[in-house]
Point group: C2
Chain length 82, copies 2
């Protein structure tokens, strides 16, 4: 059993309206030192798989097929024994 | 200048319809080893602040006031020199 922590972020050149909105809200709240905010997704996936390499391959495949849009997003993940 | 990486996750007892939907979609795609998926938010915040402790306090305050809903969400963050 492994727990994968998957981080999906927008590529640096892609516009991020959600991040801009959060930045604006933080500045309105008085956090004037905020320079930039980028918003992304964080997923924890538990896979019932005893082999680490197989589990990694599966998570890689999941990111490629469903979790991230390769045109505008990057992803990375960490595996943890669970 | 510091870069904060903020992770906002639903508390373990809170229902996560987004995670359930992703789990269903992954299983439909043939990933039968998926046991559970929890969805969260990932934010990268760049603050123009030279003192690490001040920057940490500010991020903590931002999480408390805007980024996380303390009733249903947990948050954690890491600081990085940027």
């Amino acid at each position: 059993m492994y727990l994968a922590k998957v981080y999906v972020t927008l590529k640096p050149t892609v516009n991020d309206p959600q991040g801009l909105t959060i930045k604006g809200a933080l500045q309105t709240l008085g956090f004037s030192s905020v320079e930039a905010v980028r918003a992304g997704k964080y997923l924890e996936i538990r896979v019932n798989e005893s082999n680490l390499d197989t589990a990694k391959d599966q998570i890689q495949e999941m990111c490629r097929k469903l979790l991230a849009n390769p045109v505008i997003e990057n992803y990375r993940f960490e595996m943890e024994k669970a």
